[in-house]
């Protein structure tokens, strides 16, 4: 398979690019930030995502979706990144759907139609500390009667406060550090003994801390098999990491494009600052790194879609490389904008904020570089 978008994927890009630029440009993010919206995103826009078919990209055709792959989802993610569009797409249509695709028909029928329609929102409850360490999940799910009782804390649950249900990773066996014994549950938002406290993040998205104080769920809420949740979680993590890597490519590209444009407009010493070689070389270096990162992300998504054994390694390469490169783009962006780069009025600072949040999402570059070393045997 050649390493570029095929015709169908290019069509998806042709539809997503103008849609995002028209419906949800950076001004849209500002609007929802400035009115202090408790969701942090627009439900109307989410429904339009449904009308465009984006929400069903990873949903199988039998379940009413498009039955497409991670490359197509990545195409949408990149446009989201480029426009800093606030939406539940990554958590719900990428991570959440990947989990539900491993669930029985009852759970699929319960949630997938709403997701495809752009109505339902899911929150992914995986992290338990400030750093992403899914191998060390400790939250307990004790057997209780016919079902389970969940106790513990989760954090960085994006859009948790707006979610219709949470996908929760907990332990039905084993100890922190072991992959055996993890089970995934779909927990409805109104479950008793579940307390949520949402906080606005640096990029204006909302994320919840969730307390589970003996939350009871039935056996029907199990996503996949009991104790075998790691096989599901691995797929969810791979999907979310690949998706966020694409969003980082979008963020980095958006920041770079704005910066290059600024270099062609701003004059000092009677010249456009883009004439200065000191800035040209840094911009060219950034371009070069962005192109490499973009290729790595597409490679990872193609391998995921093929079901290759190398996919996990490449997803970590992609998330690390995209994270490092997008970070370079926003830092160079603010610096090359000079004083105005520090103002709220200019968009470049918003790119820096979104980049910071995405860097942490599902593991930062350090985490993933370490994984590359581990998966390579050193």
């Amino acid at each position: 398979m050649p390493l570029y978008l095929n015709d169908d994927q290019a069509m998806m890009q042709d539809s997503a690019r103008p849609f995002m630029a028209d419906e949800a440009p950076v001004a849209h993010l500002r609007e929802f930030r400035d009115k202090n919206c408790k969701d942090g995103f627009s439900h109307d826009l989410w429904r339009k995502f449904g009308e465009m078919g984006f929400t069903g990209i990873l949903v199988g055709e039998d379940d009413g979706g498009l039955g497409m792959g991670h490359v197509e989802a990545g195409v949408v993610m990149e446009e989201i990144g480029r426009n800093l569009t606030p939406s539940p797409f990554l958590g719900t249509a990428v991570a959440g759907v990947t989990a539900l695709n491993e669930a029985g028909s009852a759970l699929r029928e319960k949630y997938l139609p709403g997701i495809v329609a752009g109505e339902t929102v899911l929150g992914m409850a995986i992290d338990e500390g400030g750093k992403h360490r899914p191998e060390r999940i400790a939250m307990q799910a004790e057997r209780a009667g016919n079902g389970f009782k969940l106790s513990g804390r989760k954090q960085f649950v994006l859009q948790g406060g707006s979610a219709d249900a949470l996908i929760v990773a907990a332990r039905t066996g084993g100890a922190a550090g072991e992959t055996q014994g993890i089970t995934l549950f779909a927990v409805d938002k109104d479950a008793a003994n579940m307390r949520m406290e949402s906080a606005r993040l640096v990029d204006s998205a909302m994320a919840a801390h969730v307390d589970f104080d003996g939350v009871e769920v039935t056996a029907d809420a199990v996503v996949g098999e009991v104790d075998e949740g790691w096989t599901v979680l691995r797929k969810v993590l791979a999907a979310a990491r690949a998706g966020s890597a694409s969003e980082l490519i979008g963020v980095g590209t958006g920041a770079m494009d704005r910066t290059v444009t600024y270099l062609k407009e701003r004059k000092q010493f009677g010249r456009l600052i883009g004439e200065f070689q000191a800035l040209q070389h840094r911009a060219a270096h950034l371009y070069s790194e962005m192109e490499i990162a973009r290729a790595a992300v597409l490679k990872a998504q193609q391998l995921l879609d093929e079901g290759s054994d190398d996919a996990e390694l490449w997803v970590s390469i992609a998330k690390a490389k995209a994270g490092i490169t997008s970070d370079l783009a926003v830092r160079e962006g603010v610096q090359m904008h000079g004083g105005v780069g520090m103002t709220d009025e200019y968009d470049i600072g918003l790119f820096m904020k979104r980049d910071r949040a995405l860097a942490e999402y599902m593991g930062d570059a350090n985490y993933h570089a370490n994984r590359v070393a581990e998966l390579s045997g050193y």
């Binding site: 390493l3 070389h281 060219a284 070069s288 490389k321 590359v372 050193y378």
Partner: protein
């Protein structure tokens, strides 16, 4: 099975049967690389056998047309052949500037007669070429070159000096940029071909910091070059040169650069040692290697994407400049890490145990990667100007 699956299966079987075991070992030293040519001495029988087998199928240049000694393979088939060679770690049967540089330019600009005359001997490894571009006063500013070809009717008489001519002392022929019009800077250069045994050609190897002498100074003293030994039109050699530089940059970014699959950290962990948990037992070096592997493996994806896009006619024509920049900077990092991992063992310059200083000499050699074929700074200039379209660059 699809046609491509059949092709893969047949290729795999043929390679298994025809690639000698010695040619499946990693390249250890310079003389493991087969360059071919009139004066070539094969290191062993296997090297010759492998070249003959591959050349017999046109697979030293799999994607060239069969009429010119190539294999006539499609881009997909070529990719499969490379993958299958990689699968058994088969060495490249023939390294050649004729293949990587002159060939593409000849295919694009040459006449039918020229293609039939010059290309098949390149494919068979019978004629070894070198490149006459840089001059003492014309490095990054190549277009200022002074070597002059005086028009004498049916031939030119060439006088001047080239420098950094790779393997000029071992090459049979040279493709050379020569000024044929002193009034026009860009449109006053011709792309000439001539035999290195012509009267008036002398070469002098340059000793480098690596202790090796892969480059030469090359002197032309009234060298006669017949008028039919020109690629493209008279005074339009700069077009050919630019086209060829794209291929050179692509090649340096790949074979000489960072385009190597696999983890460097995994290899160097064996050198440095591992702790009880199986981790490379120098945490800071391990972290540097992990970051290097991320960058280097991501770069292999970029190379793959570039190759695929070029075949499909997509992609920006100035992309090879960014590949050359990124690939050579990565290769310098690679060898710096190999030196760090090797410690004092990697300092040995003259000893059998160090393969006569393989590591330090290679490390020093890589410092040229970001200078030769256009410096990193020139590559960034080109990216800034042609891709980012920054002003006044």
């Amino acid at each position: 099975m699809s046609d491509l699956d059949t092709f893969r299966a047949e290729t795999r079987a043929w390679l298994e049967a025809n690639c000698p075991p010695e040619m499946r070992q990693p390249v250890q030293s310079e003389d493991d690389i087969c360059w071919g040519g009139r004066n070539w001495t094969f290191k062993n029988e296997a090297q010759k056998q492998w070249l003959d087998a591959m050349a017999g199928r046109g697979w030293t240049v799999p994607d060239w047309p069969k009429d010119y000694g190539g294999g006539g393979l499609s881009p997909e088939e070529t990719k499969i052949l490379r993958q299958e060679m990689g699968r058994i770690n088969a060495r490249n049967p023939l390294n050649s500037f004729g293949i990587s540089m002159l060939g593409p330019a000849m295919l694009h600009f040459g006449t039918e007669e020229q293609k039939k005359h010059y290309l098949p001997p390149i494919a068979r490894g019978e004629v070894r070429w070198c490149q006459g571009y840089s001059e003492p006063g014309s490095g990054s500013d190549l277009v200022s070159l002074q070597t002059y070809g005086k028009d004498e009717g049916d031939h030119w008489v060439v006088n001047g000096q080239k420098v950094w001519t790779s393997y000029a002392d071992k090459a049979d022929w040279i493709f050379c940029l020569v000024r044929t019009d002193k009034e026009n800077k860009y449109q006053g250069i011709s792309f000439l071909l001539f035999d290195m045994e012509s009267d008036g050609v002398t070469t002098k190897p340059i000793k480098l910091i690596s202790g090796n002498s892969p480059f030469c100074e090359t002197f032309f003293d009234d060298v006669k070059v017949p008028k039919d030994q020109i690629v493209g039109k008279e005074n339009r050699g700069w077009d050919v040169a630019k086209y060829l530089l794209g291929h050179e940059r692509e090649m340096i970014s790949g074979t000489g650069g960072g385009d190597r699959a696999g983890s460097l950290g995994a290899v160097l962990a064996e050198t440095v040692g591992k702790d009880d948990a199986g981790k490379l037992d120098d945490p800071i070096l391990r972290a540097q290697l992990a970051m290097f592997d991320v960058d280097a493996l991501a770069f292999t994806a970029m190379s793959e994407r570039f190759t695929d896009e070029m075949k499909a006619g997509k992609g920006h024509p100035a992309q090879p400049n960014m590949l050359k920049y990124a690939g050579t900077e990565l290769n310098k990092r690679r060898h710096a890490l190999i030196m760090e991992a090797g410690g004092s063992d990697a300092l040995e310059w003259e000893s059998e145990r160090s393969n006569e200083g393989g590591r330090p000499r290679s490390w020093l050699r890589t410092k040229a990667n970001s200078i030769e074929g256009g410096t990193s700074e020139i590559m960034l200039n080109v990216v800034a100007k042609r891709i980012l379209e920054l002003p006044g660059a």
